[in-house]
Symmetry: C2
Subunit: 268 residues, 2 copies
């Protein structure tokens, strides 16, 4: 039986700061062929709210530490404001969205990251082999469009702050059992750039071997590193295609396409 | 065909401030016979957070006015922190909870309250005849336990702050098409009291005619007024039973039972 197409789209949370861009993006998203699922971030809005609350942002090795107060804050901002704002905006254009965290329907069971060598606090990584894809695929087959924030849980009552790119990777990998999946990482640039200062230097496609060379060259660095690593891992786990692109190019799919074959192999 | 039993339980949001009481309550809730649905408030926690953020609470005729900043705040607190904390706590005890606002799955379409005579801002009242009970009953029949916060939407992208008692009333009324429904209003007292200072003065049962007399006597006043009015309206719309009680008595069902027959009629 041919699997139905499912597009998993990851977007930053700051898009809700621009209602015009948001409505255009959500309209494009709604017009993707087949079933859809959205994953959103929200770090920029959480930092703003932390400042407003007078919460100190604690960092370790360049990453935010999620203490109890920060966990409460990110759960409020991601699962509350951003998630429900996007859901209401999708409902407005006729898309039957349903907002979820990984605790809802036990869709994304996770484990708290080991405090050794660095204790990041209430930060979790999904147990990708234990995702409740049965529940999620029933929801999707009912015609609902899941909208995920990057909050998960450990099954023992503890909510966990989770990387949104990783949530998108975990969902797309595990849902590949049920669907023919495509993963889109939307961000503020047009794709992976050879030169960060030159928007015309997009790398149109990349194999895993090529990505290793780009890493050594420093072309793939910082936040792009986990995106690229997650992308190739996703394809190993059955995801059909991964594209890294600007949110405005979701329909044209212009960006950096990651290629699911090794150098020397013929293109499938 | 006999309809399946569905218990709709309304609880205040402040219960999550007491982890021991919360776990006991959720365990009792999980052991109710048949299907279940939880509705939670959160006004006390929203007020605390408003103070922390330096937001001024604006009131009109004793009720909170929901301006844009307050809407953002209550969406964060109700749909974010309280909702996900309860969902994770239910998952811990094996109950497959799914947290929802009225925007999710378009479950509770609402309309903004008229600004005349008093402009309460972004406050909504559910369109009880347009609730998406098809979607909700499919979720429930999948074995999921919906956990509702009192945020709804107008279908045009606007989130709306909604009275949690009214959400419970609207859900129980509209779900009576599909289920044999019971509505439980849990609060901090053991039931409707003849004398607020005497916990032993519980009124064990009440008809609608009796409730009118209690209103004239001032026994039913303030926050109890809409609870009682909603309760009798719910029974007119097909809800089987309504009980007003303390959260700790959910299993024993000891509290004030509202009676679904008029004085002079024989008890059904």
């Amino acid at each position: 039986m041919t699997k139905e197409k499912l597009s998993i789209v990851k977007i930053g949370g700051n898009i809700i700061d621009n209602p015009v861009a948001l409505e255009q993006f959500l309209t494009d998203f709604y017009h993707l062929e087949g079933r859809r699922l959205l994953v959103h971030g929200g770090g920029v809005m959480a930092s703003k709210m932390a400042t407003q609350l007078g919460l100190e942002t604690k960092m370790a090795q360049g990453r935010r530490i999620t203490d109890a107060e920060t966990l409460k804050l990110v759960t409020m901002v991601y699962a509350g404001w951003i998630n429900k704002y996007i859901v209401a905006s999708l409902q407005k254009i006729g898309c039957n969205a349903i907002g979820l965290s990984g605790a809802d329907g036990n869709t994304i069971p996770s484990h708290q990251r080991s405090p050794i060598p660095v204790d990041y606090g209430y930060v979790g990584d999904p147990n990708t082999d234990k995702m409740n894809t049965e529940f999620l695929s029933k929801l999707i087959d009912m015609g609902a469009t899941p909208v995920f924030c990057a909050i998960t849980h450990d099954g023992n009552g503890q909510l966990l702050n989770t990387n949104a790119d990783t949530v998108a990777y975990s969902l797309s990998s595990s849902l590949s059992k049920h669907y023919n999946t495509s993963l889109y990482y939307c961000f503020e640039k047009e794709g992976v750039l050879r030169d960060l200062n030159d928007p015309d230097s997009i790398i149109p496609s990349m194999t895993q071997a090529e990505s290793e060379i780009y890493k050594q060259m420093g072309v793939i660095a910082d936040g792009m590193l986990p995106k690229i690593d997650n992308s190739f891992r996703a394809m190993e786990k059955g995801v059909n295609e991964v594209i890294i692109l600007h949110a405005k190019n979701l329909i044209s799919k212009k960006g950096t396409i990651l290629l699911n074959y090794r150098d020397g192999e013929s293109k499938p």
